[in-house]
Symmetry: C2
C-alpha cells in the first residue's frame, strides 16, 4: 500500500508540469545519476585487484558447476549484455529456469539482487545459482573441494584474502565474485555524458524520448543511477499484463516476503544497456524494446503511446548503452586428480 502511494506521489511530482526545453537537463539531473568512472565500493568487501581477478576466474570457471559445463558466464554472458539468449535460462540437465537472467553489468548499483530482490547484495546473490538444482546444481562443498584441488586457486585465494584461514571458503568464493562484478560497470553512455553536462550527447529524438520518459511517468520507477533497480513495484500497476508475460505461478516478491501486497511485485528493471538485452521482462517473451515500451506504458501507466512517442522513448533508451569493460579471458588452473569429476545426472 505504501508503495502505491509512493508511485502516485512521484507520478505527480514528475508529471505535474511539462518540462521546458531548457530545464530538461536540470530535471534529468534531479532524477538520474551518471555511472562513475571509478569502481564503486562494496559493503563489507573491499574491492582489491587480487579479489577481482580471482572473481573473474570463478565467473568463467564451468568446473564450479556439477556438470563442469556451466559457468556464471553461461547465463550472464559478458559478450551479450551480461545475459543469455533467453527467453529464460537453461541449466543443469537442460532444465529451463522460470525467469530471464538479469544482467551482471551495473548490478552492483541495484538495491537488491534477483528479480524478486531476495539477495541483499552480490555476495549473497553469488551463492544462489551455483547451488540451484535448475542452474549449476553444485554444493558449497563441491565448490571448495574443486578450488582446493588446484594449488593455483589456493594461492590466489591467499592473495585475495590474506587474513583468512583457510582462505578458500564458500563465503570468500562469493566475495571474490562480488568484487569482480563490482568492476562490471559501463560508464560513458551518451546519457551519462548528457548528465555530466554535454547537451549534445543526446540527439533531438533522444531528448524528446527523455522528456516523455519523465513526463509520462516511466521515471517514477526507473530512476537513479541504474534507471531502475532501486525499488519494488507490481508488474501491472494499472492493468494486468498478458499471462504469457506474467505467468500466474510466479508471484515475484511474494515468495520472499509472503506479504499479500507483494504478489506479482518485482524489482524495477534497471534499464542500463537495455538495448543489448532482449528478450524483455522476467518471462523473456518480448523480443523488441519497442514492444516492451508499449506494454509498460499500458500496464504500468495506463497510457497508450503514439508511434512517435514510442520511437522517441526507444531512442532515449538506446542512449543508455555504455562502455563495456575490456575483459581478458582468464586461463584457469589445471585440474588435478583431486578435482571432483563432472556429474551430469539430475
Amino acid at each position: 500500500m505504501m508503495r502505491k502511494v509512493s508511485i502516485a506521489t512521484v507520478l505527480v511530482l514528475v508529471s505535474s508540469h511539462a518540462i521546458a526545453n531548457d530545464d530538461l537537463m536540470m530535471a534529468a539531473k534531479q532524477l538520474f545519476k551518471p555511472i562513475p568512472s571509478a569502481i564503486p565500493a562494496v559493503k563489507d568487501n573491499p574491492v582489491t585487484t587480487e579479489k577481482a581477478e580471482l572473481g573473474k576466474m570463478l565467473f568463467f570457471d564451468p568446473r564450479l558447476s556439477a556438470s563442469g559445463i556451466i559457468s556464471c558466464n553461461t547465463c550472464h554472458n559478458l559478450g551479450t549484455g551480461g545475459v543469455d539468449a533467453g527467453p529464460t535460462s537453461v541449466g543443469h540437465g537442460w532444465q529451463k529456469g522460470a525467469r530471464r537472467a538479469p544482467t551482471v553489468y551495473n548490478a552492483v548499483f541495484n538495491v537488491a539482487q534477483f528479480w524478486d530482490g531476495r539477495a541483499p547484495d552480490l555476495k549473497a546473490q553469488a551463492k544462489g545459482p551455483v547451488q540451484a538444482s535448475v542452474e549449476m546444481n553444485a554444493t558449497p562443498d563441491h565448490v571448495t573441494s574443486t578450488l582446493n584441488s588446484m594449488a593455483d586457486y589456493v594461492a590466489k585465494f591467499k592473495q585475495a584474502f590474506p587474513r583468512d584461514t583457510p582462505p578458500v571458503t564458500f563465503d570468500n568464493f562469493a566475495k571474490a565474485l562480488e568484487a569482480f562484478e563490482a568492476t562490471l560497470t559501463t560508464p560513458a553512455a551518451p546519457f551519462d555524458q548528457y548528465l555530466n553536462g554535454d547537451a549534445n550527447a543526446l540527439n533531438d529524438q533522444q531528448k524528446a524520448g527523455l522528456r516523455l520518459f519523465m513526463d509520462k511517468g516511466c521515471a517514477s520507477c526507473h530512476n537513479a543511477i541504474n534507471i531502475g533497480g532501486q525499488d519494488f513495484f507490481p508488474f501491472g500497476v494499472i492493468k494486468k499484463p498478458d499471462i504469457k508475460l506474467l505467468p500466474a505461478a510466479d508471484k515475484g516478491r511474494f515468495a520472499v516476503t509472503t506479504a499479500p501486497s507483494d504478489q506479482y511485485v518485482f524489482r524495477v528493471a534497471p534499464l542500463r544497456n537495455v538495448a543489448l538485452r532482449a528478450p524483455y521482462f522476467h518471462s523473456g517473451q518480448v523480443w523488441t524494446l519497442k514492444e516492451a515500451v508499449g506494454i509498460m506504458s499500458e500496464v504500468q501507466l495506463g497510457a497508450k503511446l503514439s508511434e512517435t512517442e514510442n520511437n522517441d522513448i526507444v531512442a532515449f533508451l538506446n542512449s543508455l548503452s555504455g562502455c563495456l569493460p575490456k575483459i581478458e579471458y582468464p586461463i584457469l588452473p589445471t585440474r588435478t586428480k583431486e578435482t571432483p569429476p563432472p556429474s551430469l545426472s539430475r
Copy 2:
C-alpha cells in the same frame, strides 16, 4: 598394413641405439619441431586480422547454436586447455557425445581434424559441430540468418571477405573460424626453448623423460611439431585396451575409410599442453597423465614402465605446456527482431 611397417621402422630407428647425453638435443631436433612464434599460414585462407577477429566473435557466440547457449568455446574452452571438463562433451538437449573434445590450441598443425581425421583442415572441421544434432544442433541457414540479422556482423564479414558477394556465407563463417584458430598456437614451452638450443630449458628429469620418450618408442607416433597429430594408428597396437577406454561401438577411422585395417584407428593425439587436458584418450576415462602414460606404453609398445620411467616421461610431457595467447573476450553484436530465437527442442 603399411602403417604397421612404418611403426616398426621408426621404432628401430629410434630405439636401436641408446641416445648419449650429448646427442639428446640433436636427436630431439630430428624428431620434433618448435612452435614458431609467427602465426602459421593456412591453405586457401589467408589469415588476416579482420578474419581472425571475426572468427573470435564466432567462436564465442552461443547464438550460432540452436539453443543459443552453446558456443565453440563451450567444448573447446580456451581457459582450460582448449577442451571441456569431460569425459566426453555435452551438447544440445544435454546429450552426451561419444568422444572427448580435441583441443583447438595448435590444432592448425595437425594433419587432419577430429579424432578420426575426417576433416582435412580447420575450415572443414568448423562446419561439423555447429550442425551436429548432439552438439550445437544448428543448420547453415540458422548460422547465416543469425549473422545476417545483425548489421555489425555483416559489416565485419565485409571487412574480412571484401571480394565476396554476399560476404556472409557458411563457407566464410568456417574460414573466419579457421583464421582465428590458426592464431591459437602456444609457443615458448620449455621444450620449444630446448629445441631452439637452450640446454637448460629442461631439467634433468625432463631430459631423462625425453630420452625415454624416444628410446621406448613413444616418439614413433608422437613426433613433429605437435608431438603427434600427424598420422593415424590403432589404439592398441600390441594389446587391446580395456573396453572402457576403447568402447567397441566407436571404430574410429574405420567410419571414414571403411578399410578393415582402420578399425579402432585414431589420429595420434597431439601432446602439446597435454598436462592441461585431462581426462585422456577419445573416451575421456583416464584422469591423470601418469596413468595415461602407463596405459600407452602397455597397449601401444608392450612395455611396462618402472615408476621412475613413468614419472620421468610425465615430467617431460609437462615441458610441453606453452604460452597461451591472451584473448580479449569479444563483445558480440546485439540481436535484432530478425535474429532467429533460441530453440531448446531436441
